[in-house]
């Protein structure tokens, strides 16, 4: 069964549409990467999928549920997690509080969920009481992903998770993404410089000008010369 099926999405801001009919599918257990140049509509697609922007046309299905018009708080409960590209943590709150807010909609004791996140990101375990605003970029990204994982999502959407990170930190984040995926969580990643991301992806999509350009297996896109030249920096 497809975890996420978006078809023919048209969306954008009041007087300017950015997506002109984008379709994306994520199967259960897959890692899918969306690449494309600046302004291709990648972040807009993420926001539309997550209900932060209304879809003017098209539909979004999550599993076998139609979620096209659902607000974020409903999607979160359904197992849909989203890590925005920027401002993806609460800087004046502690690590523990950030994670706690990830599980905000739950009514249960969160301690088992904390443990699971700290197993994935051992570096965070010792810094539970640190204000996230005082942490490094890599650590913040871990907090952001950890926060999204608190709900045990079935789909994790990451908007440029390694942008502005040093290469060794980026590699670490990708390792963690693999580890997350191994737990059966589907992952949808948006990346601008996306070689690394495509390498670990099952499939990939290329967006340009608010439309689908190419799609295929991750390695296939990586080896395609046109895509390499146009979108992967040669």
């Amino acid at each position: 069964m497809s975890r996420l099926t978006a078809s023919g999405l048209v969306s954008g801001y009041e007087d300017m549409m950015i997506l002109h009919g984008v379709s994306v599918i994520v199967e259960d257990g897959e890692i899918v990467t969306i690449i494309g140049p600046n302004g291709a509509g990648k972040s807009t697609l993420m926001k539309t999928l997550f209900g932060l922007l209304p879809a003017i046309e098209g539909s979004i299905r999550f599993g076998d549920l139609d979620t096209t018009a659902l607000p974020p708080d409903r999607l979160v409960r359904l197992g849909f997690a989203y890590v925005p590209q920027v401002a993806n943590v609460f800087p004046s709150l502690t690590v523990r509080e950030n994670l706690e807010l990830g599980g905000f909609v739950l009514r249960e004791n969160l301690s088992r969920r904390f443990d699971r996140v700290f197993d994935l990101f051992p570096a965070l375990r010792t810094r539970k009481r640190t204000r996230v605003g005082n942490m490094s970029g890599g650590e913040r990204q871990m907090v952001a992903m950890g926060r999204a994982l608190m709900l045990d999502p079935r789909l994790l959407m990451l908007d440029e998770p390694t942008a502005a990170l040093a290469p060794n930190l980026a590699a670490e984040i990708f390792e963690q993404i693999m580890a997350i995926n191994e737990r059966g969580i589907s992952v949808l990643i948006v990346e601008q410089n996306a070689k690394e991301s495509l390498r670990l992806s099952d499939r990939g999509y290329v967006l340009a000008g608010g439309c689908n350009r190419f799609d295929g297996a991750g390695m296939e896109l990586l080896e395609n010369e046109d895509i390499g030249k146009l979108y992967l920096g040669g």
């Binding site: 708080d73 925005p84 943590v89 609460f90 800087p91 709150l93 807010l101 905000f104 909609v105 605003g133």
Partner: protein
């Protein structure tokens, strides 16, 4: 009496009025951090709460709760009950106002919202005057003997000790609320990063509701305490304190409720101590001078973060 020997007494008065300013400032700061605009009607929320409490006193007497003074205080359980009920009622009024007006303007420009709060300020103050009249009114007229604390060289009334204790209790309660309750954390999260808070499934409207309830309740207590300290209330009660409250909030770092508490104490104390050196006629301008100095030196406030 020479100037310096008056200082301890003025510090005491300043502490008391600072407590009242702090309670008012918390609401302004919370509104700013959650809703993103400066609420110029907050002073009038204080007056509204103080007057609702006044109106409840006869009803409470009718219920058979005695109006006898509590120990050395000038008021009794009836007054305390009246203030608690008034906090709820004025919260309801403010939430209703939000539904009718501010909610319709959620996506409007901040300045449009601020102008609408100026309109609310004026309409509310005059509504109070329409119902209760412009003349000063009192909760209780019991005369209190001040306690002398010779070692510190100050005199303080039991009511004033009560004011300090109430402010201390409420500030602690607010701290515990923000730090440990679910809705408190949701408020801090929303103030930090509203869109991420929504991503986490926090309902912004619920947070806004609580912001108004806390702001209006603390404003009610502040207004009622001002009525105890001044011995009377007038419809202008809150408006007269508004400039001081805003100076306090900016001094502490606008949007930071802890800053509002610190700022309130600093402004309250500065205003009282200033009377040792300048004409009392200019006391209301002291807050303004602090405000301007702060804007020149450190516009983010004492506890403000860099933005």
């Amino acid at each position: 009496m020479d100037v310096l020997s008056r200082i301890p007494q003025l510090l005491t008065y300043g502490l008391i009025s600072g407590c009242i300013l702090s309670l008012g400032g918390i609401g302004v700061s919370l509104t700013y951090s959650i809703l993103g605009f400066s609420n110029f009607a907050h002073g009038d929320f204080m007056a509204l709460g103080a007057y609702i409490a006044l109106a409840l006193l006869p009803a409470i007497a009718w219920l058979g709760i005695p109006a006898a003074s509590l120990g050395p205080l000038s008021f009794g359980w009836d007054w305390i009950l009246a203030v608690l009920l008034a906090a709820m009622l004025s919260s309801a009024c403010v939430v209703l106002l939000d539904r009718l007006l501010f909610r319709q303007l959620r996506s409007a420009h901040r300045i449009t919202l601020m102008i609408s709060t100026v309109g609310v300020a004026l309409a509310l103050r005059n509504l109070i005057q329409f119902i209760w009249g412009p003349q000063p009114q009192t909760y209780a007229s019991a005369i209190q003997k001040a306690i002398r604390i010779e070692r510190l060289g100050i005199r303080i009334k039991p009511d004033q000790i009560f004011i300090i204790l109430v402010a201390l209790t409420l500030a602690t309660a607010l701290h515990l609320f923000l730090r440990y309750t679910k809705i408190g954390k949701a408020m801090r999260a929303t103030s930090d990063n509203p869109s991420l808070a929504r991503v986490c499934g926090i309902k912004t409207e619920r947070v806004i509701l609580w912001t108004w309830i806390i702001g209006a309740s603390l404003a009610t207590v502040a207004g009622a305490l001002a009525g105890i300290e001044n011995k009377f209330i007038t419809p202008e009660l809150g408006w007269q304190m508004l400039l001081s409250i805003f100076a306090a909030v900016i001094l502490g770092g606008i949007g930071n409720p802890y800053g509002a508490i610190v700022g309130g104490l600093v402004v309250g104390i500065s205003e009282e101590v200033s009377t040792a050196f300048i004409s009392t006629g200019y006391k209301p301008a002291v807050a303004f001078v602090i405000l301007i100095l702060m804007l020149l030196i450190r516009p983010t406030g004492l506890l403000g973060r860099k933005s």
